[in-house]
Symmetry: C2
Subunit: 308 residues, 2 copies
């Protein structure tokens, strides 16, 4: 059993059971891939792929299990390589962060600025997506770190660390009647059309639940994945905006006013998610701590170890 053979079956599976594509992706010849897969199947004495004549048409039950395990092995090999890099070039490498729009736009910038200043040799990449996409990317080891608020604690492969809490606010166009009608309540919000996050997104489902508990069903005229889109439509007078307080910027959002709504909704917690089995580079610990000072190396290591 050779590592190459595991790489080959993984790539074939990833390329939709197309051996030719896999060979190309691996910068090798197609017959070589074919051969190695046969050898592996012969050694294990079972079929990994279902075939119809010469075509691969599926993955067998044992094949599925083997593919999972193979991924694990290859990830761990990556980790070993990382250890080498960490100890010889501890200030160069790459960091890929998966996160949602709101975090990327309003919460990460200071940490990112500090990071590129402290670790100029590290290539930083940010992938944006829905919370579940964020989680999936970390699970698939396409991202080193995931930052999101929802749907991220349910993956057994991930360790989640509470990063910070936040709450919501209402934004309205200047001169809106709600500005004088204090204090703000859920009932008053529900009288107006509401523009807010897409339900799949940060805190979306929690908001509807909070309204529903009071028997309220506001008119959600528009749901977006993007706080800037929400604010744009509020400016246009489409309705009032309900979004993360951190997404309101008094300097920039000149046509809008903000009303704190922290007392109306339970606070949400944003988490940092890491694969349990990943080996973290020094600068990754650095980034996490810049984002949440209480998450120092010890805390993160303890969380990783606690259930590895």
């Amino acid at each position: 059993m050779k590592l190459h053979q595991l790489r080959y079956i993984r790539e074939v599976a990833r390329q939709g059971l197309n051996v030719s594509l896999a060979a190309e992706a691996l910068h090798t010849s197609q017959p070589g891939v074919s051969k190695q897969i046969q050898l592996l199947e012969e050694e294990l004495d079972l079929q990994i792929f279902k075939r119809n004549g010469k075509r691969l048409i599926g993955v067998t039950e044992p094949g599925r299990i083997i593919l999972e395990r193979a991924e694990q092995v290859l990830r761990e090999m990556e980790n070993i390589k990382r250890v080498g890099e960490e100890f010889t070039h501890d200030d160069t490498g790459s960091l890929t962060i998966a996160t949602t729009h709101t975090q990327a736009r309003y919460r990460l910038p200071p940490a990112v600025t500090g990071f590129i200043e402290k670790y100029p040799g590290v290539r930083l990449t940010i992938h944006q997506g829905s919370p579940s996409q964020v989680a999936e990317q970390v699970v698939a080891a396409e991202a080193d770190i995931g930052i999101a608020t929802e749907a991220i604690a349910d993956y057994p492969e991930l360790v989640c660390l509470p990063c910070y809490q936040w709450n919501r606010c209402v934004v309205v166009p200047k001169g809106h009647p709600l500005l004088k009608d204090t204090p703000l309540t859920l009932e008053k919000i529900a009288r107006y059309p509401v523009v807010t996050y897409d339900f799949a997104f940060t805190g979306g489902s929690l908001m509807t639940r909070t309204f529903a508990e009071k028997g309220l069903h506001p008119n959600f005229v528009l749901t977006a994945i993007d706080a800037d889109v929400i604010k744009t439509y509020v400016t246009l007078g489409l309705g009032i905006g309900l979004l993360a307080k951190m997404a309101y910027d008094p300097d920039r959002d000149v046509g809008l006013e903000m009303l704190d709504a922290s007392h109306l909704f339970p606070p949400s917690t944003t988490y940092v998610a890491i694969r349990r089995d990943s080996y973290l580079r020094g600068y990754m610990y650095g980034f996490i701590q810049m984002l949440a000072p209480h998450l120092d190396r010890k805390v993160v290591d303890a969380a990783l170890k606690h259930s590895s």
Copy 2:
């Protein structure tokens, strides 16, 4: 980076940093091992082993991490091999169980009997040891399954499943005054010299704690790791025995009488422990269920998946 290289560094570490011994254990030549380790270190661009001239005298910090990861990789390769065996020879293989004396002697026999009847092709091995030794063996993948009562839930690498509960009894020589002095209490037990389990062993520490809570400090004249030893000395009149109820056999223990002590001590739970990342053969599920019928394949898989 080759799998062989990982095997080599693992074996060298295991053999106390002796390359020659490692080469022998791996059935290969010593220079080959030396060479491959050098190549690996060169590729990773760091030292795995500390050297004094040509002697290996220690493991470097990155080396320690790499060795851990290498073990993980090699274990996972073992698992893949197992998958092959499971699907081609699903009724042959081996099962190694690590457990304590009391479990092996009084609780496992029916399950073992049933097992060898149902799976005659599987070679069964039982390793006996203290609870911590049991746990260590499972962690080191020297045993597939660990069965013990204490000190086994603290290993993050292991998943523990509650197997069954049990409690204690007092055994006394025939005609002992305690037999007529009902009901049995802790105070009455403490009046006599006590023969019981070694403190490191099943329920030992729990018993002393229970006595101490009542301000009692019985005279433990002998502590043993073995229920049969305890009973032997009780027969000899050294004191009264305090042991697991399952360890009393009315047919065999002819010179002894048993007094239930379940009401005096909190019940203990015996757990089955498995490495989180191990691939279980079908017959392993079979054995576990024979031992504890509620632990069917679904339950075990759920527990393994829940935190892998």
